[in-house]
Assembly symmetry: C2
Homo-oligomer: 89 residues x 2
Protein backbone atom coordinates (compact mmCIF):
# COMPACT_ATOMS: atom_id res chain seq x y z
CA UNK A 1 0.00 0.00 0.00
CA UNK A 2 1.33 3.42 -0.89
CA UNK A 3 2.51 5.43 2.09
CA UNK A 4 1.02 8.88 2.37
CA UNK A 5 2.30 11.82 4.37
CA UNK A 6 0.67 15.14 5.16
CA UNK A 7 2.53 18.43 5.48
CA UNK A 8 0.73 21.35 7.13
CA UNK A 9 1.96 24.74 5.92
CA UNK A 10 2.33 27.37 8.64
CA UNK A 11 4.58 30.30 9.45
CA UNK A 12 8.01 28.77 8.75
CA UNK A 13 9.99 29.83 5.65
CA UNK A 14 8.93 28.27 2.34
CA UNK A 15 12.20 26.35 1.90
CA UNK A 16 11.72 24.50 5.22
CA UNK A 17 8.57 22.90 3.82
CA UNK A 18 10.18 22.26 0.42
CA UNK A 19 12.97 20.40 2.22
CA UNK A 20 10.38 18.36 4.15
CA UNK A 21 8.57 17.37 0.94
CA UNK A 22 11.80 16.55 -0.93
CA UNK A 23 13.10 14.48 2.00
CA UNK A 24 9.91 12.43 2.09
CA UNK A 25 9.97 11.76 -1.65
CA UNK A 26 13.61 10.69 -1.33
CA UNK A 27 12.59 8.31 1.47
CA UNK A 28 10.30 6.56 -1.03
CA UNK A 29 7.06 8.06 0.21
CA UNK A 30 4.98 7.93 -2.97
CA UNK A 31 2.20 10.34 -2.09
CA UNK A 32 2.44 13.62 -0.22
CA UNK A 33 -0.41 15.96 0.69
CA UNK A 34 0.39 19.65 1.26
CA UNK A 35 -2.33 21.39 3.28
CA UNK A 36 -2.75 25.11 3.97
CA UNK A 37 -5.39 27.60 5.06
CA UNK A 38 -5.95 31.31 4.46
CA UNK A 39 -2.91 33.35 3.53
CA UNK A 40 -0.66 30.27 3.66
CA UNK A 41 -2.36 28.96 0.50
CA UNK A 42 0.02 30.98 -1.73
CA UNK A 43 2.96 29.50 0.17
CA UNK A 44 1.62 25.96 -0.34
CA UNK A 45 1.52 26.55 -4.10
CA UNK A 46 5.10 27.89 -4.01
CA UNK A 47 6.23 24.80 -2.06
CA UNK A 48 4.62 22.45 -4.57
CA UNK A 49 5.97 24.30 -7.61
CA UNK A 50 9.52 24.64 -6.24
CA UNK A 51 9.55 20.93 -5.35
CA UNK A 52 8.39 19.99 -8.83
CA UNK A 53 10.60 22.30 -10.87
CA UNK A 54 13.84 22.32 -8.87
CA UNK A 55 14.08 19.03 -7.00
CA UNK A 56 11.69 16.19 -7.89
CA UNK A 57 11.22 16.62 -11.62
CA UNK A 58 9.06 13.51 -12.00
CA UNK A 59 6.57 14.65 -9.32
CA UNK A 60 3.01 15.17 -10.54
CA UNK A 61 -0.16 16.75 -9.20
CA UNK A 62 -2.61 13.96 -8.51
CA UNK A 63 -5.35 16.08 -7.01
CA UNK A 64 -5.93 19.67 -5.94
CA UNK A 65 -8.87 20.34 -3.62
CA UNK A 66 -10.26 23.69 -2.48
CA UNK A 67 -12.53 23.81 0.56
CA UNK A 68 -14.00 26.14 3.16
CA UNK A 69 -13.38 25.36 6.82
CA UNK A 70 -15.33 26.85 9.71
CA UNK A 71 -13.23 28.17 12.57
CA UNK A 72 -15.00 28.38 15.92
CA UNK A 73 -13.68 31.44 17.77
CA UNK A 74 -14.61 33.42 20.87
CA UNK A 75 -16.38 36.01 18.74
CA UNK A 76 -18.38 33.48 16.74
CA UNK A 77 -17.60 31.36 13.71
CA UNK A 78 -15.57 32.48 10.72
CA UNK A 79 -14.87 30.87 7.37
CA UNK A 80 -11.42 30.23 5.99
CA UNK A 81 -10.49 28.76 2.60
CA UNK A 82 -8.13 25.82 2.41
CA UNK A 83 -6.15 23.92 -0.22
CA UNK A 84 -5.00 20.30 -0.37
CA UNK A 85 -2.35 19.57 -2.99
CA UNK A 86 -1.69 15.86 -3.51
CA UNK A 87 1.63 15.09 -5.21
CA UNK A 88 2.89 11.71 -6.42
CA UNK A 89 5.98 10.54 -8.20
CA UNK B 1 -20.06 26.68 -28.05
CA UNK B 2 -19.58 27.41 -24.37
CA UNK B 3 -18.52 30.95 -23.64
CA UNK B 4 -15.50 31.31 -21.41
CA UNK B 5 -14.38 34.32 -19.43
CA UNK B 6 -11.14 34.98 -17.58
CA UNK B 7 -10.88 37.00 -14.39
CA UNK B 8 -7.43 38.20 -13.30
CA UNK B 9 -7.13 38.65 -9.53
CA UNK B 10 -5.21 41.72 -8.44
CA UNK B 11 -5.29 44.25 -5.62
CA UNK B 12 -9.02 45.02 -5.44
CA UNK B 13 -11.09 43.70 -2.52
CA UNK B 14 -12.13 40.03 -2.69
CA UNK B 15 -15.84 40.82 -3.00
CA UNK B 16 -15.28 42.89 -6.17
CA UNK B 17 -14.02 39.75 -7.92
CA UNK B 18 -16.76 37.57 -6.39
CA UNK B 19 -19.32 39.99 -7.82
CA UNK B 20 -17.64 39.80 -11.24
CA UNK B 21 -17.75 35.97 -11.22
CA UNK B 22 -21.37 35.84 -9.99
CA UNK B 23 -22.47 38.40 -12.59
CA UNK B 24 -20.91 36.38 -15.39
CA UNK B 25 -22.53 33.13 -14.25
CA UNK B 26 -25.87 34.96 -14.06
CA UNK B 27 -25.32 36.19 -17.64
CA UNK B 28 -25.19 32.54 -18.73
CA UNK B 29 -21.44 32.32 -19.11
CA UNK B 30 -20.90 28.60 -18.49
CA UNK B 31 -17.19 28.54 -17.81
CA UNK B 32 -15.11 31.02 -15.84
CA UNK B 33 -11.36 30.94 -15.27
CA UNK B 34 -9.96 32.72 -12.19
CA UNK B 35 -6.24 33.47 -12.56
CA UNK B 36 -3.83 34.76 -9.92
CA UNK B 37 -0.10 34.98 -9.21
CA UNK B 38 2.02 35.11 -6.06
CA UNK B 39 0.29 36.36 -2.92
CA UNK B 40 -3.01 36.82 -4.79
CA UNK B 41 -3.36 33.03 -5.04
CA UNK B 42 -4.98 32.88 -1.57
CA UNK B 43 -7.44 35.55 -2.68
CA UNK B 44 -8.31 33.58 -5.83
CA UNK B 45 -9.19 30.55 -3.69
CA UNK B 46 -11.36 32.76 -1.43
CA UNK B 47 -13.16 34.17 -4.49
CA UNK B 48 -13.87 30.69 -5.85
CA UNK B 49 -15.04 29.30 -2.50
CA UNK B 50 -17.26 32.29 -1.65
CA UNK B 51 -18.84 32.14 -5.12
CA UNK B 52 -19.55 28.42 -4.73
CA UNK B 53 -20.84 28.42 -1.16
CA UNK B 54 -22.76 31.71 -0.96
CA UNK B 55 -23.97 32.56 -4.46
CA UNK B 56 -23.76 29.92 -7.22
CA UNK B 57 -24.43 26.70 -5.34
CA UNK B 58 -24.37 24.53 -8.48
CA UNK B 59 -20.92 25.79 -9.54
CA UNK B 60 -18.21 23.13 -9.74
CA UNK B 61 -14.45 23.05 -10.10
CA UNK B 62 -13.65 21.70 -13.54
CA UNK B 63 -9.90 22.10 -13.35
CA UNK B 64 -7.27 23.60 -11.04
CA UNK B 65 -3.81 24.23 -12.50
CA UNK B 66 -0.66 25.31 -10.71
CA UNK B 67 2.24 26.73 -12.70
CA UNK B 68 5.43 28.73 -12.43
CA UNK B 69 5.78 31.88 -14.51
CA UNK B 70 9.03 33.67 -15.20
CA UNK B 71 8.97 37.43 -14.69
CA UNK B 72 11.62 39.38 -16.59
CA UNK B 73 12.70 42.31 -14.43
CA UNK B 74 15.47 44.91 -14.48
CA UNK B 75 17.47 42.87 -11.97
CA UNK B 76 17.13 39.58 -13.84
CA UNK B 77 14.43 36.96 -13.98
CA UNK B 78 12.38 35.78 -11.05
CA UNK B 79 9.89 32.95 -10.68
CA UNK B 80 6.35 33.37 -9.45
CA UNK B 81 3.75 30.67 -8.83
CA UNK B 82 0.32 30.97 -10.42
CA UNK B 83 -3.08 29.30 -10.14
CA UNK B 84 -5.86 28.86 -12.70
CA UNK B 85 -9.21 27.81 -11.26
CA UNK B 86 -11.77 26.79 -13.91
CA UNK B 87 -15.37 26.85 -12.68
CA UNK B 88 -18.46 25.64 -14.51
CA UNK B 89 -22.14 25.41 -13.66
Amino acid sequence: MAEENIIFVGKKPTMNYVLAVVTQFNNNIEKIVIKARGKSISKAVDIAEITKHKFIKDAKYKDIKLETEILHGENGDSNVSSIEITMTR
